[in-house]
């Protein structure tokens, strides 16, 4: 399988504190990956680096078949290149309807002039309806998204990510605060998405990671501690020391 994203030897320091320490990470074009690690392991910083929010002090980040370097590209450019990100807290535009949220995310020309003249065509609206069905929000399409429940907001945000048609999805704690039924649905959406693209899920919750049934990368103090199946990494001695303190 070809590599879609390759992070090698990346280091980031904040005021002398090494949040990411010589981290290397790879993911294929259609792969589901869970990233776990205790608080402060550098999971969110890792996402910040890949999406261009934080610039690494050292290392390389190469993207796609042509191995383009993502370092120095703006967040918007990286997003346009095909990396979508879901935040820990559900961040949808609460003032706007589900439809408006999805339309904004739809993969289209993002220059101000094109957006100014944009009027949704029938295929666009069909695509939005299709996405809404996928995330179970068909009835909510014209509702203001601030009225949605916590779980529905999480799905809407995943729907917006899918609308972007990214090749890599970075998802930060999608299951936080969800009920069991909602978790099952989220798992289904993510595994479905991973059939055609790369999905990286950052998660605290081991039970949810088990559900995803995929390769796991364990981060600790800004570096990869272990990698492999969940059973494999949980048997790892270093991992149990980090997680359980023994």
């Amino acid at each position: 399988m070809s590599t879609l994203l390759e992070v090698s030897g990346v280091t980031v320091s904040f005021d002398g504190f090494r949040a990411i320490n010589n981290l290397s990470f790879q993911i294929g074009a259609a792969e589901l990956r869970a990233v776990i690690g205790p608080n402060g392991a550098g999971k969110t910083t890792f996402m910040d680096i890949v999406t261009g929010k934080t610039r690494p002090d050292e290392g390389h980040i190469l993207w796609g078949e042509k191995s383009i370097s993502l370092i120095g590209m703006s967040e918007a450019k990286i997003a346009q290149a095909g990396i979508g990100r879901k935040f820990q807290k559900p961040t949808v535009f609460e003032d706007q309807t589900v439809q408006e949220n999805l339309l904004m995310a739809l993969r289209k020309d993002r220059s101000p002039l094109a957006v100014l003249l944009f009027r949704p065509s029938v295929p666009d609206l069909d695509r939005v309806a299709e996405l809404a069905a996928e995330i179970g929000l068909t009835e909510m399409l014209l509702r203001v998204s601030g009225e949605l429940s916590h779980g529905q907001k999480q799905w809407l945000e995943i729907g917006m990510l899918l609308a972007q048609e990214p090749r890599l999805l970075l998802v930060d704690e999608p299951a936080a605060g969800m009920t069991l039924a909602e978790r099952e649905k989220t798992t289904a959406i993510l595994t479905e998405a991973a059939k055609t693209r790369a999905v990286v899920v950052v998660e605290h919750d081991m039970e949810f990671v088990r559900r995803l049934n995929c390769k796991v990368t364990v981060l600790h103090e800004g570096a990869v501690l272990a990698e492999g199946s969940l059973d494999h990494v949980t048997k790892n001695k270093d991992v149990s020391v980090v997680y359980l303190g023994r």
């Binding site: 929010k53 961040t91 706007q96 995310a105 993002r110 944009f118 009027r119």
Partner: protein, 391 residues
Amino acid sequence: MNRSFIARNPSVLIFLSILALFTLLVTLLSEGFGAGLVSTSMVKTLGKTLCLCLIAVAMDLIWGYTGILSLGHFAFFGLGGYMIGMWLMFERTRQIVVTSLSEGVLPPTPEDIQAAIGNQIFGVVGSSEFPLIWMFADSLVLQLAFVVLVPGALAFVFGWLAFRSRVTGVYLSILTQAMTLGLSLYLFQNASGLRGNNGLSGLQNLPGVTAPQSVVSLWFFWASALALALGYLLVAWVVSGKFGSVIRGIRDNEARVRFLGYSVESYKLAVFTLTACISGIAGALYYPQAGIINPAEVAPIASIYLAVWVAIGGRGRLYGAVIGTALVSLVSSWFTGGQAPDVNLGFYTIKWVDWWLVLLGLSFVLVTLYAPRGIGGLFDLVARKNPGEGP
């Protein structure tokens, strides 16, 4: 979703109808039309108010919709006024000079005329030379273009520097205050070439027009109403579609919009520049009705008033901005114009000229506390619309 944007935004049509009715009513009752119920000075006040409403619509676009609290838009308003003022003053002075010189024995040379105009205009700042920026003052077309281009260019350069460095929030507000203060201080200098603290005057007299002020004031009133109508339509259209979604997204969560792949800085810059151009047009219509423009007009306080008007009227809804501005600026000119009767409390007499600002400040606090959506928000309660939707 695919209906025309007017059909989706009934408030636009309602607003335009009310504006048209108001214009017609004032015209029919005006002195210039013969009825005389509305005095010429009142027509001018109303015309100026329409111009203030236009800049308020621009302010609502940049603040209410995009979330950028600019406290410097009166700089653009003033620049628009200066640009048209240069032509008005030059052309009128030229006509006076030509008439008086032609009474001489020898026909005047172009140099004589130029020197005489220079003397007339710049004598007050101890000069008779035309500064370089007056190079095109004899061309109405160019000066009209500058009304839009000069504020637009200033906004573009300022915005490019500020937004690219990701200056946001209160820091940006302070920068915009610094910009308008800087412009004001610069214009106060005699060497600025725009007559220092004298400013440009006599702007109410249109060169080559013999019609009385009662009629000219109506022309400007109509032009202001038309400009407000077009500006309102334009801004309502801009915020109605996906562009409106994106800028409201920037207001609510800038980082999220960035990760959706939108270049937030370009959007901010586009909106900042567009609103500066609208402000320039509003200013160009305002100052011929005021008759005079001087650097005090672009003092930082003016832009702060603008923010207060829009806040009282209701951010994020265009009619709110218009209502707030019309109401507060008209009430303000009533109180400060000495028409409001003093209140004698026996031990103290409340003079409204002094106490108006206290009243304004108090109403600002009350609106912020009890009606955060402003006066425009009350309409939403009546119409039971979803908050923050539509213009």
